[in-house]
Symmetry: C2
Subunit: 167 residues, 2 copies
């Protein structure tokens, strides 16, 4: 039983590693099993499917990341907090791209979509609403495509205040 | 010469149709040529590559869509304007997904990333800044994955005001 629990954690860690190195679409069950050092049949046993394991790994990894950011910048100004989140777009780029890949794949998988919906509800709670969650993912898209034109934490906060005052 | 101009427009229209029906990744040059009713060699002649044509079609289609929304809801309240944009997530779902697909593909294509960066700069100008652009794409992700928990136009505006007041 202890070994089984160990396998589960190893699979999650292996899946996180694969998501970071290869992204969502190109990670196979064999990649994960190899990274985890366990037989790939263990994926079905512990998680039911590749998708279910990958989404669990994605949700865990993003949660760990935002927890780390909150611990580091939680007491800072809004500008500093946004900048700390924005910094993760480059330090954890493959993880953020994996989220986009997952959303695209979810078009063809109701089970995956349900997993991502649950993750989104968590993200909404963690960040304090739909608007900060939307801002975070929308800024991520801008940073991935065009970091030079994307706004800094200070620019986000000043634009946010101006935009809210106008609307 | 007239026929060549016609071919170019036909290819753009065919590419828009393919993006809407199949999305980004699954659209081949043959699909576009068939939809356009022209030889697929015309893609290279007019656009240089499949990606270059697809991104042009995507940018055009999104611009047409946001222009239509602006014409329809531009005089309305902020709540009505956000709701009109949000409504396009379901009426033009494949087009929005194509944007995510393009962003994922851009990870492996500097040329595509440059096209998308230019499109993003246009979007930023059209919407009035990085924050509204980020909000729009971030809300789109929430609507694609979990429309039941995603916010309405009125909720976006009220959350935005509360969030700006706090920060």
């Amino acid at each position: 039983m202890l070994e089984r629990v160990g396998n589960r954690d190893a699979l999650l860690a292996g899946a996180k590693q694969c998501l970071t190195e290869r992204g969502w679409a190109r990670t196979t069950v064999r990649d994960i099993a190899f990274a985890a050092g366990v037989n790939h049949a263990a994926i079905g046993y512990h998680f039911g499917s590749r998708e279910s394991l990958l989404v669990q790994a994605l949700v865990d990894a993003v949660e760990e990341l935002t927890d780390t950011v909150a611990a580091r910048a939680g007491d800072g100004s809004p500008e500093e907090r946004w900048q700390a989140l924005i910094d993760t777009f480059s330090t954890h780029r493959p993880l953020w791209i994996a989220q986009l890949e997952a959303a695209v794949q979810a078009e063809h998988s109701p089970a995956l979509r349900e997993h991502l919906a649950a993750a989104q509800r968590q993200g909404r709670e963690g960040l304090g609403g739909s608007v900060p969650l939307a801002l975070l993912t929308g800024l991520m898209l801008q940073w991935l495509v065009d970091p030079e034109a994307a706004p800094s934490g200070a620019e986000v906060v000043s634009e946010l205040r101006a935009h809210a005052a106008e609307s």
